[in-house]
Amino acid sequence: MRIKIDTNLSSPLFKQLMNQIKNAVKDGLLKPGDPLPSIRQLANDLELNHNTVAKAYRLLERDSVIQTKGYRGTSIHEDAIQNSTVNMNDSITTKLSETIKSLRESGATDSEIRIAFSNVMKNQ
């Protein structure tokens, strides 16, 4: 399985990495338990900054598409096929839209919602 990134594309590099790994899981090219290269190996092979690959891996781990098990390294998560179909951005947008709609219905103004959102984010 090969991964290809294009530095000319407007899409961020970590996103390209994430999408390709998710697509490879969905297409059956990567199966649960398959090992993945280390951050250092992949970053050096693709001539990328290590932080870019680390960010992609971190977000994939958050989405339970991959898992890191100490010295055994990183591999594809057992629920990766199911989790690869979930788009976190869409999920966040849907949940926020529902919350904003409910707040507006209860009489809150957009300005109040923005200030409250900003405060909550700062305090988290």
Binding site: M1, T7, N44
Partner: protein, 281 residues
């Protein structure tokens, strides 16, 4: 056979092998690339003018010829000068270091070429395999086991020799030096496996062959270094120091032979160098 005569023969063989045969094989390889993969068809292979590369090849040849002449002079000098105090092995060692200089030049030449290739490379698309590389992908477990076993034997050997309280015996300093060598060689292997891509055009399959070649060479050299260290101690223990210069020369033969295991040219994918670069230097 007289020890001196044996030393002349072994040193002559070292000169012919490392300053004649080895460079000849290297130059045949370089000129085969020039001939079969010319710049008009494989422009990415030559980030700079081919004349510059031809000059470097010529320089390599001349340097080796001069070192060969120096070696013959050394044999004559050994013949006319009485050798005392073990200086012959020091001279053989430093002569090998001089023999190594042109090859160091080739290594620097290769590094600079790759560096220029990277600077000129305008390809926005980067590709990588999504599989981890492991040491056992490149060498057998048996080979790795042999390297480890030889290290353990070396440790045991040092512990054994230490019992005799030889005043000259370096004791655990030997272990420190050999362990340091293992760490150093391990670092080279690690860099080869996980380090940055040197040649931006090289196919992944060719890179894997390169990595395999480096690992095999390094592990073989590791074995040779350890065995040689044990041989040196044994020679000292048995009072065979007059053979030291001969043994060091034979050891350099082995190192030279191991370093000569290059990947076959017909196995390398040169098609990756076909497209014209966007920039020229």
């Amino acid at each position: 056979m007289n020890i001196d005569l044996l030393l002349y023969i072994v040193l002559f063989s070292q000169i012919m092998f490392l300053s004649y045969y080895y460079p000849k094989r290297m130059l045949i390889r370089i000129h085969t690339i020039f001939k079969n993969y010319p710049p008009n068809e494989f422009p990415k292979l030559y980030p700079e003018s081919i004349d510059k590369y031809k000059k470097s090849a010529k320089r390599y040849q001349i340097m080796n010829h001069l070192i060969m002449v120096l070696g013959f002079g050394l044999i004559v000098w050994f013949y006319v000068t009485p050798r005392t105090g073990g200086w012959d092995q020091v001279i053989v060692f430093w002569y090998f270091m001089i023999q190594f200089i042109p090859n160091l030049g080739i290594e620097l030449w290769s590094r600079n070429t790759h560096k220029t290739m990277r600077l000129l490379n305008q390809d926005a698309q980067k590709e990588a395999a999504l599989q981890p590389r492991r040491l056992t992908d490149f060498v057998s477990k048996e080979f790795l086991g042999t390297v480890f076993a030889i290290y353990v034997i070396f440790v045991g050997f040092n512990v054994y020799i230490d019992q005799f309280n030889y005043p000259w015996f370096g004791g655990y300093l030997n272990l420190l030096i050999i362990s340091g060598s293992y760490l150093f060689f391990g670092l080279i292997i690690y860099k080869a496996m996980y380090g940055k891509v040197k040649n931006p055009h090289q196919s992944y399959e060719d890179r894997k062959i390169d990595i395999q070649t480096i690992i095999r060479q390094i592990l073989s050299i590791t074995i040779a270094v350890t065995l040689y260290a044990m041989l040196q101690i044994l020679m000292k223990a048995y009072g065979l120091e007059s053979f030291k210069a001969i043994s060091i020369s034979l050891y350099f033969h082995v190192i030279g032979f191991l370093s000569m295991q290059w990947p076959r040219l017909d196995f390398i994918n040169f098609d990756v160098y076909k497209d014209k670069p966007a920039l020229t230097k």
